[in-house]
């Protein structure tokens, strides 16, 4: 536990505070309130007033924030304005599907992106490098829903390799390995679409990082010693060039989650994104807010972990 990690943890405290303040005030802008889902046309204004008083909705805003925060710390994200369900339960129920999708996309983009980036760097300005660079530009430029539609059109409708949408068919009766394979077929396309933009970014970053490392003195020394090019690249340069790639690990978490709305809608993937899309259609602000707050906290944790990893891997980092 070094000084950097301690400082980084202390730094996170005001950020958590800021996240809750921002979320709270955005929520206050929303029309209606936590009671909207429970009011029927027959609710009298008196009982409504009593409920507002009981929930503290007439208190000063600071007091309201404080009691909201106390509830939040205990894991109470509030209730859906649409159907009165507990928001945290709704989110936790959808979380595994989204995590499966994002983590798969994540791993895929690193496993493919880093070797491609290294290849690009070691073959700088070759045809392969230009091709890969062009591909990475397409990757960051294509709208994910358009790419998703194209994939569905080609691989699901024309070639019939993968199912168009959803996560497993209710008609399927297999168990064990067969069930896993059945579910995997549903995972391939959305995970690929989600990975594309991230893959392009990882690749570009790995390329520039590798090029920079290859210009370092110790690489020149290694070459001067007469080591083979392979040994120089894979033994001396690669490890050091991968360190900065960890930083985009932290940055790409919000992007991946942000993409979930679109990709889960296109592929009917039953995760948090689809929950959000339904919430948009139902004008269910409480659920949207809960989702936003929940992902913000996930992102904060992800960033913390990335920074701590970075400081552990690279002892040169001092705060």
């Amino acid at each position: 536990m070094n000084k950097y990690i301690r400082k980084r943890l202390v730094q996170a405290i005001p950020v958590i505070f800021g996240i809750t303040v921002l979320t709270f005030f955005i929520m206050k802008m929303a029309p209606g309130g936590p009671l909207t889902g429970m009011i029927s046309p027959r609710t009298s204004s008196e009982s409504l007033q009593r409920a507002r008083e009981a929930l503290g909705l007439n208190d000063p805003i600071i007091v309201q924030y404080w009691s909201w925060l106390k509830e939040l710390v205990q894991g109470n994200f509030g209730y859906s304005t649409y159907n009165g369900q507990v928001i945290l339960d709704m989110i936790l129920q959808r979380l595994p599907a989204t995590l499966l999708l994002t983590v798969t996309a994540f791993i895929f983009s690193y496993i493919v992106g880093i070797p491609l980036g290294v290849y690009s760097a070691t073959h700088k300005y070759s045809k392969g490098d230009y091709g890969l660079t062009f591909f990475s530009f397409i990757g960051i430029s294509v709208p994910s829903f358009f790419f998703g539609m194209g994939m569905i059109y080609i691989f699901a409708l024309k070639l019939d390799w993968f199912p168009t949408s959803g996560f497993g068919s209710s008609m399927f009766r297999g168990t064990g390995m067969a069930l896993v394979l059945h579910k995997l077929r549903y995972l391939v396309m959305p995970a690929l679409v989600m990975a594309l933009a991230n893959l392009a970014q990882v690749m570009r970053f790995a390329r520039s990082s590798m090029i920079e490392t290859l210009n370092q003195d110790y690489v020149r020394t290694a070459r001067a010693k007469g080591l083979s090019e392979k040994r120089v690249i894979y033994k001396h340069a690669l490890k050091n060039s991968l360190i900065p790639v960890i930083t985009i690990f932290g940055q790409s978490i919000p992007n991946l989650f942000g993409g979930a709305y679109i990709i889960e809608k296109v592929f009917g993937w039953p995760g948090m994104g689809l929950l959000g899309v339904d919430a948009i259609n139902n004008r269910d602000y409480q659920v949207l807010m809960g989702l936003t707050l929940f992902t913000a906290i996930l992102v904060l944790l992800g960033n913390l972990i990335a920074d701590i990893m970075y400081s552990l891997v690279d002892p040169r980092i001092r705060y």
Partner: protein
């Protein structure tokens, strides 16, 4: 006097190394050409299109010709699910999508430059507070933040512009802060300080002009991102609202399998336009970065 200096500057730009480097970059030139063509067709859309983009077309017998292919309907790109001319909508959508991107990036660049400049120049407590605010905003997936605010406020073109502007300034703020920290210690700024120039004067007439290049590159890249975001929002139904056409909401219909398979003219052109515009702007941004960065050697 002022005028003469300006003229001189203009000439210098086209003879400058930056322009030479930019004009050698083929992809950046292609990108510029594509974007110019898109801007021109969008500007002159009313003169180009034959059919009104908001009116359903009717056949000779008086029935609305919806979901018609180009050949059947006699239009360039066919008609959409309520019989409007897809080509007309595509051109009018270009106006909406590009202006939303431009205004949103304008707003976020102004916010980012101001906060970044204040943060980097004054340092201390203000710097800490602003940078923590950046951290807070960065924790939210921008899409989530924009979606929730757009859902709460009425989604309209102007709201989308403002919301996207308010949510996307953090990268610029960080960039400008870093540049200012770097430039602040250079002699010419120190000279201005010792001559008693005001903070305002130093920031805006000595520092900002010298960190303009990275700001422009960043803004260009964010323009591409803004067009993508607007398209995604409109596709989800929280962006530009029908009947106003935007490239994103033209793809809303394509969520059905029937449209995907049998009516490609309803989703391929709009999707390709987004891809082409975003790709071109990214090429331009990349070209600008290489052009401004004199240290980089090819």
């Amino acid at each position: 006097m002022g005028k003469r200096v300006e003229n001189k500057k203009k000439n210098i730009f086209f003879q400058s190394d930056a322009w030479k480097r930019f004009s050698k970059n083929k992809l950046a030139l292609i990108g510029t050409t594509v974007i110019l063509i898109m801007i021109l067709t969008a500007l002159f859309a009313p003169l180009i299109v034959v059919n009104d983009p908001y009116v359903s077309l009717k056949s000779e017998t008086g029935s609305i010709i919806k979901n018609m292919s180009p050949r059947e309907s006699g239009t360039i790109l066919g008609t959409d699910s309520v019989g409007r001319d897809e080509f007309s909508r595509l051109l009018y959508a270009a106006r909406v999508s590009m202006s939303v991107g431009l205004v949103a990036v304008g707003i976020s660049t102004i916010i980012g430059v101001l906060l970044g400049a204040v943060s980097g120049y004054f340092g201390g407590k203000i710097d800490t507070i602003i940078m923590r605010c950046v951290d807070v905003v960065n924790c939210f997936p921008v899409m989530f933040l924009i979606i929730i605010i757009a859902t709460i406020l009425k989604p309209s073109i102007y709201n989308i512009m403002i919301i996207m502007g308010l949510c996307n300034w953090t990268a610029t703020a960080r960039l400008v802060r870093g540049e200012i920290l770097r430039v602040r210690e250079i002699e010419y700024v120190q000279a201005a300080v010792s001559l008693g120039a005001s903070d305002y004067l130093i920031i805006f007439s000595h520092i900002i002009p010298n960190v303009m290049a990275p700001i422009i590159v960043e803004a260009t890249m964010r323009m591409a991102y803004a067009i993508l975001t607007e398209a995604s929002l409109s596709y989800l139904g929280v962006g530009v609202q029908l009947p106003t056409a935007s490239w994103g909401n033209m793809l809303m219909d394509a969520n059905s399998i029937a449209t995907l398979t049998s009516r490609p003219w309803q989703w391929l052109p709009a999707g390709s336009c987004i891809l082409l515009a975003v790709l071109s702007i990214n090429f331009i941004g990349d070209g600008l970065r290489d052009a401004f960065d004199s240290k980089q050697k090819k």
